[in-house]
């Protein structure tokens, strides 16, 4: 348990900073609300307050700072407010038997998770096949690798709407497939790079050893390259699944999407419900954390069973 302390300290520091930041972020909202309730604030009108810095406002209206911590539509909600909103829109909905309603984050999280997993599968398959091709054929190394690198320099936010439009044009119904493609687009690259490195991990003397046995290329691949690459594979899968989630959420942002965590973020923005945005953001973070942790567990178990020293 020596490890828990640093973790708790960092968590505490983040929460403390967050709480501190709420005061300046929400002071204008708090003053607007106080003004509507008839209190005297300085300066008196919202327009005049625009001219003054938040620090000045906090110094001049110390009594109203506290109100910033309990606004209905805060610019920056407190961690507790986010937690409450998250609870309400997940467990709260589930308790009322409405886990799969459009207002439940469980529903939206499920939509995002599905697309993420499809994208992850597709991206991993493309990444691994690409790596095998690159390692086995020199021409592939020269003809495939540059394109793989260029593909990642194209900003995904620019590409996502195009993929959606094109897939609609060729008659693909709904968002699921284009979302999975966008997700795979981000996911395949870390898998490709990691697997190229992994499949090239065997040393010259290990390869020479197989030569003295007169092993075939397939035997060398199965008995040496594949097992040698597994530690690299798991590392890149963890990066890959996080990238797949980001890709899915980006795929849910362009207008038109109504379900998924990305859509919740966008809708929350349009309707001015910051609590919903934050709850969706935290939900996405939790989802990413769970997925990476699961892969980490799988890695530990697999490598341990294979006898790799931990």
């Amino acid at each position: 348990m020596r490890n828990t302390w640093p973790v708790l300290v960092v968590l505490g520091a983040i929460a403390a900073l967050w709480y501190l930041a709420v005061a300046p972020m929400n002071i204008r909202g708090a003053l607007d609300q106080a003004e509507r309730a008839g209190a005297v604030v300085a300066p008196e009108t919202p327009k005049a307050r625009q001219e003054v810095s938040v620090w000045r406002l906090m110094i001049d209206n110390p009594d109203h700072i506290a109100a910033g911590y309990s606004l209905d539509r805060p610019r920056l909600p407190t961690p507790v407010q986010v937690g409450e909103e998250l609870w309400k829109s997940t467990v709260g909905m589930a308790l009322r038997g409405r886990a799969m309603s459009k207002r439940s984050l469980i529903y939206h999280g499920w939509v995002t998770l599905q697309a993420t997993l499809w994208g992850f599968l597709l991206g991993t398959a493309v990444g691994i096949l690409g790596a095998v091709a690159i390692v086995h054929w020199r021409v592939m190394d020269m003809s495939l690798m540059p394109w793989a690198i260029i593909s990642q320099t194209v900003p995904i936010v620019a590409l996502a709407p195009m993929i959606i439009v094109v897939s609609a044009q060729i008659g693909i119904e709904g968002r699921a497939i284009p979302k999975a493609i966008i997700s795979a687009y981000l996911c395949y690259f870390p898998v490709l790079v990691g697997m190229v490195k992994g499949l090239r991990a065997p040393t010259v003397s290990q390869i020479d050893l197989l030569k003295t046995y007169n092993a075939s290329a397939l035997q060398g691949f199965l008995k040496l390259r594949v097992p040698a690459s597994l530690p690299y594979l798991f590392t890149s899968l963890k990066v890959g699944i996080a990238a797949a989630l980001v890709g899915t959420i980006v795929g849910e942002l362009p207008t038109g999407a109504i379900s998924g965590l990305g859509a919740r973020i966008l809708i929350g923005d349009q309707f001015g419900t910051p609590l919903a945005i934050w709850a969706a953001l935290v939900a996405a973070a939790i989802l990413a954390g769970v997925l990476v942790t699961l892969l980490d567990l799988l890695q530990k178990i697999t490598l341990k069973r294979m006898g790799f020293r931990q």
Binding site: D208, L209, Y213, N214, A215, A228, G307, R309
Partner: protein
Amino acid sequence: MTETNPVISARNLDLVFQTNDGPVQALKDVALDIEKGDFVSFIGPSGCGKTTFLRVIAALEHPTGGTVTVNGMTPDEARRQRAYGYVFQAAGLFPWRTIARNIKLPLEIMGFSRAEQDERVERVLKLVDLDGFGEKYPWQLSGGMQQRASIARALAFDADILLMDEPFGALDEIVRDHLNEQLLALWERTGKTICFVTHSIPEAVYLSTKIVVMSPRPGRITDVIESPLPKERPLDIRDTPEFLEIAHRVREGLRAGHAYDD
């Protein structure tokens, strides 16, 4: 071929590596015959081409001039017939396989049956004094034990020729003595032909029926010494006058190589 039919025969062997700094002559005009059942040591300063010569025999490098035959074939053909077991300088066990499965690696590749694999693993583990360690992973073994495991791996498929590149180079004197004794016993029992690279004069003299002294730049053979020592060699044979005389001749050969070099 001559009447004796050597197992390994090199004639006018040249090997030039093309490097970025220009050509490097690793072997020049090397001629050598190795008979069946010989224990041949290669000794010489670093960079004189000992490893390269072993690799040529194993068809891991190809000569740029001259000829080598192994069992009357080219090294490539001999490799296809799985004629040699190669023990590299580093044990080179696969970390994800247990010792037993490491030894099975060549057997799997060569298509031995399951039962045969198990039986052979059992046998060679005993041969190198490692019985009971089959289920351990390489990192659970000492360096000397790993080296013995890699020898067991090379023995498992019954190649007639064993090529060993400084297998005991990184081990301490005591372990080395022990492994030398075991290796001699094994050679006597199996009648294999062994090519053994070393930097140690006593090791070369103790083990060999034939000592090949090499010198660098370009790598070539300066002396071939046939050992008059009997096959039966207790460790204290190293204090006998015959032993010291051969050791002296090897040292002279090494020194001559160096003088030529300067």
